[in-house]
Amino acid sequence: MNVNATIIGQMITFIILVWFVMKYVWTPITAAMEARSKKIADGLAASERGQHDLELAAHRAEDIIRQAREKASEVIALAEKRGGQIVEEAKEQARTEADRLIAGAKAEIEQEVYRARESLRQQVAQLAVTGAEQILRREVDLKVHAELLASLQNEI
């Protein structure tokens, strides 16, 4: 129960210890702990940001896919329309071509008929002339009656 100079010694020990702890133990350890907790907080924030970015990217991808799908269906519709048009055009062309061919054939046939008639006429005329020649051999001079025969040929 006796207080003596020991109290001074213990005070000195205590003060030195407090000073040492403050300078060389407490300050570096708390600084390191603070730095670490800041680092962890930063890491968490970064991960959250990453998560957010990922979500955004997913949204964007969805948008792009949707747009692509719309465009594709548009293209398909257009192609179908165009296809129909082409078929229609082809049909039209075929029809006109057919008409043209038919018309050509008809013209040719007419020409052929005309030509046949012409040659027939000539042959008939020839025949008539030959017949008349034989009949009139003696009395008709071919040269005299040529004009008459030509007019006859024209009349047939």
């Binding site: 006796n2 100079a5 109290i7 213990q10 020990t13 702890v21 708390t30």
Partner: protein, 261 residues
């Protein structure tokens, strides 16, 4: 040696045994004497704290392990206590609280060593030694800490409120300015009670704890473990609680110095 062993045999003379064990290893006379046991063990434990603290602080690994982890646990615990109680700005309060907690804890923990250990060691080295192994069992230690804290709280009180504000607090509280002398008396008692109670509480608890160990040591050797083991286990609690109380009250007194009433 033979004489020493005879002295240490408790059952021969219980009164002498207790008396011897309550004596400090003292040199010098009157006030200017030193309790070497208190000084040496206190300093030794302070060195242990410095060594361990420095070792932990130098460990710069990213993931704390071992000693570093343990130290950070204590630092975190103390820091939380300080944050909860002390709202002023001070760089010294938290490390002070840390030092108080750890040092007091270690000094108290010396109580768990066998009561005769130091005397036997001293006698083995040829010293006629009556020494006490628990430094917090010495009023010098507890008062050294509580008075240091008290002086610091006075310093902070004056720093936070100025001389005028600090003086006013002594004169005008708690009953207003018309009861000035009474206020001064009350305030003086209140202020002085702080370091005294702080020191006496720790001293009383540790003294009582040690005394129980002395008494158990007086019993026949086959009874001793039956009693000393539960008491030691219970004492672990007391050691920790007393260190914790000393730390918390240190923080509280310093924060009271900062805040005006």
């Amino acid at each position: 040696m033979v004489e020493a062993l005879k002295m240490l045999s408790p059952s021969d003379n219980p009164t002498m045994y207790i008396h011897d064990h309550l004596a400090y290893w003292k040199i010098g006379h009157g006030f200017w004497s030193l309790n070497l046991d208190t000084i040496l063990i206190g300093a030794l434990l302070a060195l242990v704290i410095m060594w361990a603290g420095r070792k932990a602080a130098k460990d710069l690994t990213e993931v704390p392990t071992g000693l570093r982890n343990f130290m950070e646990m204590i630092v975190d615990f103390v820091d939380e206590q300080v944050r909860n109680t002390f709202h002023g700005r001070s760089k010294i309060v938290a490390p002070l609280a840390f030092t108080v907690f750890v040092w007091v804890f270690l000094m108290n923990a010396m109580d768990l060593l066998p009561v005769d250990l130091l005397d036997l060691l001293g006698n083995a080295m040829g010293l006629q030694l009556h020494a006490r192994i628990v430094p917090s069992n010495d009023l010098n230690t507890t008062f050294a800490m509580s008075i240091s804290v008290f002086i610091l709280s006075l310093y902070y009180g004056i720093k936070a409120k100025g001389f005028g504000g600090f003086g006013k607090e002594f004169l005008y509280t708690p009953f207003g300015k018309y009861l000035m002398p009474f206020n001064l008396l009350m305030k003086l008692v209140e202020e002085i009670a702080k370091p005294v109670s702080l020191a006496m509480r720790l001293f009383g608890n540790m003294y009582a704890g040690e005394l129980i160990f002395f008494l158990i040591a007086l019993l026949p050797f086959w009874v001793q473990p039956l009693l000393s083991t539960p008491w030691a286990i219970f004492h672990i609690l007391i050691i920790t609680i007393q260190a914790f109380i000393f730390m918390v009250l240190t923080i509280v007194y310093l924060s009271m110095a900062y805040e005006s009433h």
